[in-house]
């Protein structure tokens, strides 16, 4: 399972980097979003994928570590904010007539 998830991280990162290196603004923004998703999945992996949900019950356990999920939640919110900012900036550049470098 961990190997499959690790592969997913690789695919996400490679796709993100490929899009980031393109000339179109929208592709770059999507690329950056994919890169932060890759980081979130790595965070999920960092505590391992084993264990039951961390709601303490008598005789329960072993539980998974809930901390990485808290970290991911924070990271998602931050990535959301930055992506929204980038989209707004990209829209402004589109209004300036410079959003897409493809045609030059």
């Amino acid at each position: 399972m961990a190997a499959a998830v690790a592969l997913l991280v690789g695919v996400l990162f490679a796709t993100g980097l490929y899009l980031l290196l393109g000339r179109s603004l929208l592709r770059q923004i999507i690329g950056l979003a994919l890169l932060s998703h890759a980081a979130n999945v790595v965070l999920l992996l960092s505590a391992g994928l084993r264990g039951t949900p961390p709601i303490v019950t008598p005789g329960g356990g072993p539980y998974t570590d809930p901390l990485p999920q808290a970290l991911i939640l924070t990271a998602i919110v931050i990535a959301f904010g930055v992506t929204a900012f980038l989209l707004a900036l990209g829209y402004r550049m589109h209004l300036f007539g410079e959003a897409d470098d493809d045609e030059r």
Partner: protein
Amino acid sequence: MSASLLAALPTVPILVPLLAAVALLPGPPPAPRRLVSLVGVVVTLAAGIALVVVTASGRVLPVQAGGWAAPFGITLVADSLAALMVLISGLVALVGLLFTLAAGREDRYVAAGWLFLLAGVDWAFLTGDLFNLYVAYEVMLMASYFLLTHGTTRARAREAFGYVAINLLASTFFLFAVALLYSATGTLNMAQLAERVPQAAPGPVRAAATMLLLAFGTKAAIFPLFFWLPHAYAIPPGGVAAFFGGMLTKVGVYSLFRVFTIVFRSDGPDPLLLWSAAGTMLLGVLGALAQDDIRRILSFHIISQVGYMLMGLALASQLGVTGGIFYILHHIVVKVGLLLVGGAIEESQGTGRLDQLSGLARTNGALALVFLICALSLAGVPPFSGFWAKLLLIRAGLEADQPGIVAVSVVVSVLTLMSMMKIYGGAFWGPGAPRRAPARLVLPAALLACVTVAVGLQARVLHDLSATAAGHLTAPVTYINTVLRR
């Protein structure tokens, strides 16, 4: 000072600017807005002074937010280094805000962004936890994105996009490193990381260290990751550029100092960091020599100067780290002073291009004097603060038996002086009678020039503070035990 007040002191530089920024969001009328932003910045500065006084004896002040003990809660730690950085950030924020007000560039958006930026910067200095450092970075960067693109034009938007993209990429590497370290050690508290990293599996730890070096190195603009800086710092108006140029890269440098001493300890000079320091110094100053715009020359010098700080860290000795910390503090004062002089020239003459400026010394004597003091201090001429900073680093380099980096640092000093004289010769000498810059634009930079003279004449005070700060980094026993309450 009472115990409970003392325990709350490290939260003041984060909470006060944050609350002031939130109060500014609805857009109050100009008079109360200026009052709130100035009070927010002054209180932060006062808290910085109090923190330096309290920690000067080597005391470490931890705060466990919400009463959750380390390593489980959110820990803030004010040691000597963090206190000094908070103090200098308050000073820079105040001086920069005074300049922005004097230049008439302050509005409701700038005021709020300014305080959010200050809160993020001080949070990064005071946090004792790697993930909180990431969050602090993002708070700081979000405010910087905003200040950078505020009142944007076509060309600025393009440069700003690159700045946001490179910082987001660096933050992604930061998160990767956080995940790797957590899986290898099971903690993100820096004090506990310091204990566990030496025992952890070397593979993930080495990978995490590399990624942190990439992430912090990009933000600190070290060789070969500095390419974004001159573009980004050419965008905003003078006061904002001074705040950016003084503090933002230094947060990256501070993180390098914090993490690559306490968490990843090295036994001797680190060849990778030494090469990077040499490259940063040389390419920064060579880039500066090729420019003919005051702002761009000064931006390249930020890069070059980061090389000196990195040299102190790379030497990894008590003396080297002391010199590095002294250099950071000296550099922030002098560089912000220079950027504000550049800003005053841009505001009063309408351009910062050397081929369009001439004869400023004739009509702007005070401005010329302030520039000269800061420029000579930057180059390392006695009796200003830059001389002592470089002396410490050169001595540390010779003691560590690294003549190569010492030679580079001396050559770069000469080149720095050369490019400062290029600005002086181009803008201040020559014929012509350019407009006089109003005194309110010169005053903020003059204040910083006084600081560099004072530090130069009383170098022992700052040296002793830097040595205490360096002691917590090179031998972090007190830091670890205080944070983990042993």
